[in-house]
């Protein structure tokens, strides 16, 4: 479609990458990403690379250097609570700003939404979901459930085949993002090599470091109009140290749950001291005792006693 571009310019001319970059508002998106998502360096690097590629593509078009639209199907792997879904939600907006997708909405589905229950049920179901996601991003959470090797009559395979076909033929219309835990996704790709090769970007979400988790906690609190007192922040860092060693630690999700419980205790504490008039700041501050009352501290000590 390079003929349709109004601004084709002679080959000797120069283009201003800087100006194009400013005009595209991409910096704003990247800044927002930096501000609102703590850590996740490999993810941010990849998004920056994609942004650069799409921008350079746009400039190349002006010189009538056509190239195929890049495939942007992605696979997010990582432990629970590392921000896979959160980033996917952002991806729609980012890709829309970059002019890669038309609408930028996100359709989140799991196996249930794609795979039918009887013969002939799967294809229409999958196609309906795909039609809804067109112009935006189709996010398949826990994608490895699509393929169940132990059941040879499973309809998941049919769904995968339709997805593959659409990922290849309707590249301009939608971006597919698969997400799941690393080991399970690896097994999924081993049994579906076609899927692996059609996904250009495999992005691994690293676990958060303790200081990143504290930063995340502060961000979560700020968005709900709460904040830590200085001691509470120290206590929370301490809490995280203990919690990370325990099992079922789910990174940011565990942080969110811990904060929810701290809010409960804060409310209870305020309720206990109802003799006193409360200020706005009282209602917003989480104190050290709200954090320290956690079961993690008690059970941690219990464990030590037993040992």
């Amino acid at each position: 479609m390079s003929e349709a571009q109004p601004k084709t310019i002679p080959a000797t001319d120069q283009v201003d990458l800087e100006a194009e970059f400013k005009a595209s508002n991409i910096q704003e998106v990247l800044d927002k990403l930096d501000r609102e998502l703590i850590g996740l360096v490999p993810v941010k690097t990849r998004i920056r690379e994609i942004a650069a590629l799409l921008l350079v593509d746009r400039l190349r078009k002006r010189f009538e250097l056509t190239s195929e639209t890049p495939t942007l199907h992605m696979c997010f792997t990582g432990n629970p609570g590392t921000g896979k879904t959160t980033v996917a939600m952002r991806m729609g907006e980012i890709l829309k700003r970059l002019g890669y997708v038309r609408e930028g909405h996100l359709v989140t589905v799991t196996r249930d939404d794609l795979v039918g229950q009887y013969i002939g049920h799967t294809a229409p179901k999958t196609k309906e979901v795909i039609k809804k996601a067109m112009g935006g991003v189709l996010f398949i959470d826990e994608a490895y459930y699509l393929y169940k090797p132990e059941n040879e009559r499973d309809y998941g395979q049919e769904s995968i085949e339709i997805l593959l076909q659409v990922m290849e033929n309707n590249r301009d219309d939608l971006v597919v993002i698969l997400a799941g835990y690393k080991d399970k996704m690896d097994r999924f790709f081993q049994s579906n090599p076609g899927m692996r090769s059609r996904i250009a970007h495999h992005i691994d979400f690293p676990d958060y470091r303790p200081e990143e988790l504290v930063a995340i906690a502060k961000l979560m609190l700020a968005s709900q109009n709460y904040h830590f007192s200085a001691e509470a922040e120290k206590a929370f860092a301490e809490y995280l140290k203990l919690r990370m060693k325990m099992e079922h630690f789910a990174n940011a999700r565990s942080v969110r749950n811990a904060l929810d419980r701290a809010r409960l205790r804060q409310a209870n504490r305020l309720f206990g001291s109802k003799a006193r008039a409360l200020t706005k700041d009282d209602l917003m501050t989480l104190e050290a005792e709200d954090v320290l009352a956690s079961r993690v501290f008690r059970e941690g000590r219990l464990d030590q006693d037993r040992a």
Binding site: I130, K131, M134, G135, N170
Partner: protein, 144 residues
Amino acid sequence: MMTNPGNRLTQGQFSFLPDLTDAQITAQIKWALQHGWAVSVEYTDDPHPRNTYWEMFGNPMFDLKDPAGILMEINNCRKTFPNHYIRVTAFNSTRGTESPAMSFLVNRPKKEPGFGLVRQEVDGRSVRYTIHSYATDKAEMERY
């Protein structure tokens, strides 16, 4: 007298214009989607104006954001019924309205024989008039 050269069927929107291109169809569907109307694809080989209910090609498509999915269905329908009339209908489900808000043809048979006028003599000198599609003299699926 040829008031309608080629006997082109004139039903729904844009039917007096040359056939819409895919880009134009996309733009029209986009308009429907922006209003939150559910778009569906229908086909028939009996285009009598009183034949309101055409066959549905798949379910109506709800909650779509982008016309690409509908265009895909239209093309599937064209592939299955290359010589049928195919129309796209946008249904407005707002309470109190609950009726099609748009309807336009996206596919026509290659040759359209058109309609003939039928005169029926009744009650002495009275004459009743009706129109009859030449194509419907043949069996279904053999009409165009």
